[in-house]
Structures are given as structure tokens and as C-alpha cells.
């Protein structure tokens, strides 16, 4: 295997009329790496994928696959001469060909026996051994998507591209297939780029997550970093439930306590908020004989008293509660599924030990 990165996108620009789909995008994949690109619809993630696959041409910038320049903003190598596998949401199997012939489509030029062996092997990888003689319409949605995966992997592409690969499947099937895709990529040592609008899918699939907005990659990093250390409000909001608390003071703090900051002066505090994820905030209902002691100030253990539940949502593993603090700020918190936090329940909240609030500028 070459030491070249399987994919190197630099300074890529692409617009459609007045719409800028790609705005100086840089992205490099390491060998074997799986990166999930996530963003709202229209953010340019599909355009990026299509450009890498050779289905769109860049206006400027460059794309290299395994060190080979395939698009330099002026000319592009057509898709059939790029070593790239594509899997689409709508699986796009060739309906007039059997499963076998579908998987063998990219193996033309290979000896018949070798091709048959490779097809059998690929069907094995996606757990569809014995399905070779069937036609696409005889398969379930998940099976079709697995055939599409086998077909794209068969010619041993340097890079696999997935465009919303599971969006048309139901939830259980999706989780199952997600594991199969990752296993197949790992098994074949193929790097993968997965485009999705589903944060959970991105978080669970990618070695790294790239968050895209208005044609730009705003943050790229490990899933936990992107989730818990978002670079801005957009990423924080897009990646999942979050509370944004006002920040005051020269050594900044929010209702939940001090916020880690590097050289932030008091005058600037108004332009910042503290972000915290609900699963980092604990809610504990008061015992029946409880009286509020010193509201709105965290005590030694970090608990803030005088919180009141204003809405709740059952999440299966826990309750997601929206509580109002005595200073009228609202924060989302997690409560054990053992308690029953009906609306109006009073109690205390605290930042779970070991977790931090993230300071984010409001004017980004």
C-alpha cells in the first residue's frame, strides 16, 4: 500500500450560479481512515463527494487520489479512470443484471475465473454468499445496499465514497448495515468518506468528523472532540442537544460554575456563552422536606439548588429535562430513568464531575 494519502482535497472551489457549494475546502484522509462529513442539506457535502468521484468538476483547487491529481480546476479525469467506489442512497443497482453481474461490473478485463472468485469473495464480505443468481428486485432494501457496497468494493478502490448511504432504510436496519460497512472497510483496508445529514450516524461511523456549513469545513476532528468541544455555536447546535448559558465576570462563570477560558477579559464576556451538553448536567429532585438554602450559587459539590422542571422528554436510557434555574436561565439536564421528574418538580442540577463548559462566541 502506498504511503500517499488516499485523498487530498486542497483549496477546492465550486459554485452553481450564485450558490457557492464549495468554498476553499481542504481535506486529507489518512490510509484506512474513515471520515464522516456532516452538515445541513445544501451545505455542499454532496458536491464535495461528487467532485471527488468525478461527477462534478471543480472551479478551482485540486483533488488528488493516492497522490494522483485527478482535478486541478481546469481539467478532470473522468470517473471511470478514478479508483473510487461510490455508494448512493438509492443503491443504484443495475436492475437488469443479477447480483453476480452487478458485482462483476467493475471487474471487466479480469480473467473470468479470477472475476468469479472475487465476486464470491465480495458477496461473502457483505454476508450475501449464495445470493449471486438473484435479481435486485428480489432483494430487500438492506440486501440491495449490501450488494451496492460489494459492487463498489470489488475493484479494490483506493477510496470509498458514500452519499447518505442509509437514508432510505429503517432505523434497525441502518444500525446493522452501518456496522457491516465499517467492518467491510476495515477488512479491506479501504479509506472511506461518508456524507450524511445524521449527526448520530456521523458520530458512530467516522474516525474523524468533518462538519460542513455553507460550503466550508468548519470543524474536523475526532467525534468526541467535535461533540464536546465544538468550535462555534453552529457546530454545537448541529451536533446535538445543548444548553447555552450566559457568562459573566472577569474570571468567567455561568450559572453552573466557572468556565475555563484563556485570557478573556470582562468586557468581552457579554459576547460569549457557555455551552454544555445535557448528558453532562445531572438533575436530582429534592427530598420532600427540602428547603432552598442558597439559590443560584453552586455549593461545594457543584449542586445548584432551586431548579424547576419545565418540560421533559423520555429518552429510554434517561429523562431529558428542561429546568429553569432561580436566575431564570434554562438548562437541559439528564435525570435517571428511576426518578419521575414531572413538570414542576424542584431539585438541584450540577455539571457532572470531570466535565467542562465550553466558551463560545455568540457573534460567529
Amino acid at each position: 500500500m502506498s504511503a500517499q494519502p488516499p485523498l487530498e482535497v486542497s483549496g477546492s472551489v465550486k459554485s452553481f450560479g450564485d450558490t457557492v457549494a464549495l468554498d476553499h475546502v481542504d481535506l486529507t484522509l489518512q490510509p484506512h481512515e474513515i471520515v464522516a462529513i456532516v452538515g445541513p442539506s445544501g451545505c455542499g457535502k454532496s458536491t464535495l463527494l461528487r467532485s471527488i468521484g468525478g461527477l462534478e468538476s471543480l472551479d478551482a483547487g485540486s483533488i488528488r487520489l493516492d497522490g494522483v491529481q485527478v482535478d486541478d480546476g481546469r481539467t478532470r479525469i473522468p470517473p471511470e479512470r478514478r479508483s473510487v467506489g461510490l455508494v448512493f442512497q438509492e443503491h443504484a443497482l443495475f436492475p437488469h443484471l443479477t447480483v453476480e453481474a452487478n458485482v462483476a461490473f467493475g471487474l471487466r478485463g479480469m480473467a473470468r475465473a479470477a472475476s468469479a472468485e472475487r465476486v464470491a469473495h465480495m458477496l461473502d464480505v457483505v454476508s450475501l454468499a449464495g445470493y449471486g443468481g438473484r435479481y435486485p428486485h428480489e432483494l430487500s432494501g438492506g440486501e440491495r445496499q449490501r450488494v451496492a457496497l460489494a459492487r463498489a468494493l470489488a475493484p479494490s478502490p483506493a477510496l470509498m465514497l458514500f452519499d447518505e448511504p442509509f437514508a432510505s432504510l429503517d432505523r434497525n436496519l441502518r444500525d446493522d448495515l452501518r456496522h457491516q460497512v465499517i467492518a467491510a472497510l476495515r477488512a479491506t483496508g479501504t479509506a472511506g468518506l461518508i456524507v450524511t445529514h445524521d449527526q448520530h450516524e456521523a458520530l458512530s461511523m467516522g474516525d474523524r468528523i468533518a462538519v460542513m456549513r455553507s460550503g466550508r469545513l468548519v470543524q474536523i476532528g475526532a467525534p468526541d472532540i467535535v461533540f464536546h468541544r465544538p468550535v462555534d455555536l453552529f457546530v454545537a447546535e448541529f451536533m446535538g442537544d445543548a444548553s447555552f448559558l450566559p457568562v459573566t465576570g472577569s474570571s468567567p462563570s455561568s450559572a453552573l460554575g466557572p468556565v475555563a477560558s484563556a485570557g478573556l477579559d470582562a468586557s468581552a464576556a457579554a459576547r460569549f456563552v457557555a455551552m454544555v451538553r445535557p448528558d453532562d448536567v445531572e438533575f436530582s429532585p429534592d427530598p420532600p422536606d427540602h428547603h432552598d438554602a442558597s439559590p443560584a450559587q453552586p455549593n461545594d459539590a457543584g449542586w445548584v439548588d432551586g431548579a424547576e422542571v419545565i418540560s421533559r422528554e423520555y429518552r429510554g436510557t434517561h429523562w431529558l429535562v428542561d429546568v429553569r434555574l432561580p436566575d431564570d436561565t434554562e438548562v437541559l439536564a439528564a435525570a435517571s430513568h428511576l426518578v419521575n421528574p414531572v413538570v414542576g418538580t424542584r431539585g438541584s442540577v450540577r455539571l457532572a464531575p470531570g466535565h467542562q463548559q465550553v466558551l463560545l462566541a455568540t457573534d460567529s
Binding site: E80, F88, F94, H96, R108, R118, D124, S156
Partner: protein, 575 residues
């Protein structure tokens, strides 16, 4: 998953690495890449230019008008021709609209004995060329025909009978063969869209008539506009039927000038008038259609809940449908069969089978060549759109479809002008085309037919390819297939049905076509349609029966295809 593989095994299994780019410095396109980059759009533009050229040459001929010709025309026939054309178009347009939409409403909104069957039987008149129904009508109802003879015998020699060879007669004949276009589009729109909209309107408190007026009719408007547009174009292109009825339209004028004087310039200038009227019709259709487009509703369609008719209402509904079908298709076909048998067994001896074979062969050759040219051109244009999407290829595709909106006589004369221009151009390099190519050759004839009939072929093949998702094309290419390979191994097999349909549609249109064949045929090269027209013009109706019936039988093929498709759709909606 149990048996996971290591990365693809070594060299023997790897696809040929030489097919992949190797230079690491810059993007290097190979010759094949460049060909596919420019080849598709070039082919699409070339085809579009070939289609547009005749119309463009014709349109420019008006820039330098021959005032003498126009003055002569204006002082003789032109005012009458304009008036006749206007009256005919308005008459046929209005009556087809009423008959077509009325019948569509009848078979969709009501259930009565045979309502299902009539739903598709009523499109059968599409197979009846207007010039055939025209001469059958004249011979049966005309002054010398059996009906008027019986009338005079019964009520006296001076008894009044509506004049048959008149504007009224022409309007009736055109309406009877052209209403199916309105019927078809209105019926589809009613079935696809009206059901749920009507139900919603009713649930919001509208009475049935109010719902029909405020919801269903506006919904149908685009379909009605499109259907009437086709009806008017078909009426405008005709020069034969109107002559049987003594109606003198501008299309007759073009043919008369061309056949009478062979004055190319005068004929082409006069043809621009026909083109202008065609453009007027298209403009009108666009305005009436509005921004809506017919047939766009997708997904689950709710049928209009049909009301069951009983008693005399059911009988009236049945009789109406049966009567229309009888006079527009059943009776004339029966009459033709009778004539054919009389001719075959009559005292005049053998029918002219030898000539029939000759003209039949001519029609087949012409239709086959036209279909081949049209299908190849349509495949190239649609593939170009798929492989090189963008304004160049899509504008080319739209331009390629204009021929169907240009009346036959206009296309015929435009093609002559284009070939003459080509001839002049080639002569500058020493050798022009062989003399007859421009004025009367199979090449010119096939060229004109292809210009006129490329649109139905293109539309059918385009909609067939549209069934193949973009992602399928992209997948095939990312798996290493060049565009031509994708077209051959994926697109062609997947759109085989639509290609067959396109062949049938173009073939049938070519067999029915009269004006172009009449104007451009090489000397001695008569088609079935020209032969029918000539025999009927000489009142040799018995002899015209055989070729006329042949055309009807051929034309029934796409009608049957269409009916099958419609009943399949109906079955899908109801299950």
C-alpha cells in the same frame, strides 16, 4: 459478519493499472476522455442545427419579400385563405375541446355499462387519418352519395340537405379524428390529479358544481391547452382533407404555389405565413397552460369517485360514446372494408395488387429509414444530456424537438431550401450535390420526415432514460465504464421498451404523413398516403380503400400500445 477479507489479493486480480492515471504532476486526459468530453455535446449541437436549419432558412426568406408575389396573392386568394384558416382553426379547436373534455368527464366521473371500455376505445380515431375520414364522408354524404340520393328520392329533388362539402363538414371531420388528443390528456389529468383535489374541495364545503368549476377545471386547464394545441397544429398542417371540402387554407396555398409553379421563393415566403400561425398557436398554448404543467402529479393518486348512472341516464351516456365511436371510426372503417371487397371481387377484375405492393414497400422503406435516423439521433441527444449535463446539451435537446411544432408543408419547403443552400456551398468547392437531391430525392424526404418526427421519438426515449436514476449512471462510470460502454450495457437494455415505443410512434407517423410526401417525393415514388390521396381526389374511393385501411391498421398499433398502458395505469391506481 464472519469471513472478513484482507485487502484485495495481488496483481492477477487487480484491474489493469494502465487504465488509471499515473502522472502525479498534472491532470492528464487521454484521447478517449477528450472524445467523450467534446463528442457528446458536439453530436447534440450538430443534430439540433440539422433540425433547426430548414426552419431557419425558411424564416429568413421572408426578410427579402417578393412584393409582387404577395400583392398577387393578396389580390386573389390570400384574404379568403386567411379567413378560412381562422374559421377552421377556431371551429375545430372549440368543438374538439368540448367533445374531448366532455367525453373524458363522462368516462371518468360516471360509471355506466361500457364506461371502462370506452375509456380507451374512444382514442381509436387517432388511427384514422383526417384525409381518409374526409373522403369517406364526402362519398357517403356528398351530393352524389347514397344518403343524399335516398333523401332526394324520399323528400323530392329540391329537399334541403346540409351542404357536406363545406366549412361545417370539414370542422366535423377534423373534430371527429382529433378530439382524442384533448380526451386523452384531459382523462389522464382527471385520473391523476382531480380525485383528491375534488375531495378536498368538497370537504371544505364546496358543492359538486362549485368544486368542478373552481378546482377541477383549473387543474385541467394545462391538459386542455396542450391537447387543443396538438389539435390546432394537426389541423394547420393538413392540405388534403380541406380540399375535399372546398376549404381553402394557407397550407393549401403553399401546396398550390409549390405544385403549380415550382416557384421556390414564392412558396417559401408563403410558407412563412403558415409558420407564423403555428408560432401563434404555440404562444397561445403556452399562455393558456400557464406556469402549471400537466401530468406532473406523482405518487399515490386518488381517483375521482365515479358516480353510477342508471336508467335512461346510463343509456344516454352509453349512446353518446357509442355514437362518437361509430361515426368517427366504426362506420368509416366498415365502409372502407366494403369498398375493398367490392373492388377485389367486382367486375373491374383484379385489384391493383402490384401497385399496392410497390407503394407499400415505398412507405415501409421511408418509415424504416426515418425511424432509424430519428432513434439514432434521439439516443445521441439524450445520452449527451446524461453524460454532459448543462445548458449546451439541454438547449440542443429542446431545439431538436421543434420539428413537431412546424407544419409539414413548412418543413418540406424548409428542407428544400437547406439542401439548395448546401448544394450552393458545396459547388464553391467544385462539386455540388447531384441535381435531384435537393428537389426530389429519398434523402430530402427522409431528412424532412426526420425533422418533423424526431420530437415524439426524442420525448419517448428521454422519458425512458429518465427512469434510469442518475446514480446508476454514476455508479457504472465509477466502476470504470466509459460513457459509450454505459450507454450500451446499462442505458440501452434498461430503456429498451421506450426505444421500441419510439420506433413504433415514428414509424406510424411516417406512414400517415401526407403533406411532406406529397411535396417532396421523388417522381414515381408514391407512398400509401399519397396514393390514397390521389385516388380519392379522382373519386376512385373503392380503389383507395385498400391503402387507406392499411394505414389505419398500421396506425392502430400505437393506439393499442397506448390503451394497454392506460389500462395498466388504471389497474395500478385501483389496486
Amino acid at each position: 459478519m464472519t469471513d472478513l477479507a484482507e485487502r484485495a489479493p495481488a496483481s492477477a486480480d487487480e484491474p489493469d493499472p494502465s487504465s488509471r492515471p499515473t502522472s502525479s504532476d498534472s491532470v492528464r486526459l487521454e484521447a478517449g476522455d477528450r472524445a467523450s468530453r467534446w463528442g457528446w455535446p458536439t453530436a447534440a449541437v450538430a443534430i439540433a442545427l440539422l433540425v433547426v436549419a430548414p426552419v431557419a432558412f425558411l424564416a429568413t426568406s421572408i426578410l427579402d419579400p417578393n412584393e409582387e408575389v404577395w400583392r398577387a396573392q393578396w389580390q386573389s386568394r390570400l384574404p379568403g385563405q386567411l379567413a378560412d384558416t381562422a374559421i377552421l382553426l377556431v371551429g375545430v379547436g372549440v368543438s374538439s375541446l368540448l367533445l374531448g373534455s366532455g367525453l373524458a368527464w363522462l368516462v371518468t366521473a360516471y360509471r355506466f355499462p361500457g364506461s371502462r371500455l370506452f375509456g380507451w376505445l374512444l382514442i381509436a380515431p387517432l388511427a384514422m387519418p383526417s384525409y381518409v375520414l374526409g373522403f369517406v364522408t364526402i362519398s357517403v354524404f356528398g351530393f352524389t352519395g347514397p344518403i343524399q340520393g335516398w333523401w332526394r328520392d324520399t323528400f323530392g329533388a329540391d329537399a334541403w340537405f346540409p351542404p357536406v362539402d363545406s366549412m361545417g363538414g370539414a370542422i366535423v371531420v377534423f373534430t371527429l379524428v382529433l378530439y382524442p388528443y384533448v380526451f386523452l390528456l384531459a382523462r389522464t389529468a382527471l385520473a391523476d390529479q382531480a380525485g383528491s383535489a375534488y375531495d378536498v374541495a368538497r370537504s371544505l364545503g364546496a358543492s359538486p358544481t362549485e368544486a368542478a368549476r373552481r378546482v377541477v377545471l383549473p387543474l385541467l386547464r394545462p391538459a386542455l391547452a396542450a391537447g387543443s394545441g396538438i389539435v390546432l397544429m394537426e389541423t394547420l398542417t393538413d392540405f388534403a382533407t380541406v380540399q375535399y371540402f372546398g376549404v381553402d387554407t394557407v397550407s393549401v396555398g403553399v401546396v398550390r404555389i409549390w405544385r403549380g409553379t415550382f416557384d421556390r421563393d414564392a412558396a417559401s415566403e408563403f410558407a412563412t405565413l403558415v409558420l407564423a400561425i403555428a408560432l401563434l398557436i404555440i404562444g397561445l398554448e403556452r399562455i393558456l397552460r400557464g406556469r402549471a404543467r400537466y401530468g406532473e402529479a406523482a405518487g399515490a393518486a386518488t381517483r375521482l369517485a365515479a358516480r353510477r348512472l342508471r336508467g335512461w341516464r346510463a343509456i344516454a351516456a352509453f349512446s353518446t360514446c357509442a355514437f362518437v365511436l361509430l361515426v368517427s371510426f366504426g362506420a368509416p372503417t366498415a365502409q372502407l372494408v366494403v369498398w375493398m371487397i367490392e373492388e377485389a371481387t367486382g367486375p373491374r377484375g383484379t385489384p391493383r395488387v402490384d401497385r399496392f405492393q410497390e407503394f407499400f414497400t415505398n412507405s415501409v422503406i421511408l418509415a424504416a429509414l426515418t425511424a432509424t435516423v430519428c432513434i439514432v439521433a434521439a439516443l445521441l441527444v439524450t445520452s449527451a444530456q446524461r453524460f454532459r449535463p448543462g445548458p449546451v446539451t439541454s438547449v440542443s435537446a429542446r431545439a431538436t424537438a421543434i420539428g413537431y411544432a412546424v407544419p409539414g408543408p413548412v418543413v418540406a419547403i424548409g428542407v428544400v431550401l437547406a439542401l439548395v443552400a448546401l448544394d450552393d456551398f458545396l459547388e464553391r468547392f467544385g462539386s455540388g450535390l447531384p441535381g435531384v437531391v435537393a428537389t426530389g430525392s429519398l434523402i430530402g424526404l427522409v431528412y424532412a420526415y426526420s425533422v418533423r418526427f424526431l420530437a415524439p421519438g426524442l420525448n419517448t426515449i428521454e422519458s425512458g432514460l429518465a427512469q434510469v436514476p442518475e446514480a446508476v449512471t454514476s455508479s457504472a462510470r465509477s466502476l470504470g465504464a466509459r460513457p459509450s460502454v454505459v450507454a450500451a450495457r446499462i442505458h440501452l437494455p434498461l430503456s429498451r421498451a421506450s426505444i421500441l415505443t419510439a420506433i413504433v410512434l415514428v414509424t406510424v407517423d411516417a406512414v400517415k404523413e401526407l403533406p411532406i410526401a406529397f411535396l417532396l417525393r421523388p417522381i414515381g415514388f408514391d407512398t400509401l398516403s399519397v396514393w390514397t390521396y390521389n385516388l380519392a381526389s379522382e373519386s376512385r374511393f373503392e380503389q383507395a380503400a385498400l391503402p387507406a385501411l392499411t394505414i389505419i391498421v398500421v396506425a392502430l398499433v400505437p393506439v393499442a400500445l397506448l390503451s394497454r398502458q392506460l389500462s395498466k395505469q388504471a389497474a395500478e391506481v385501483t389496486t
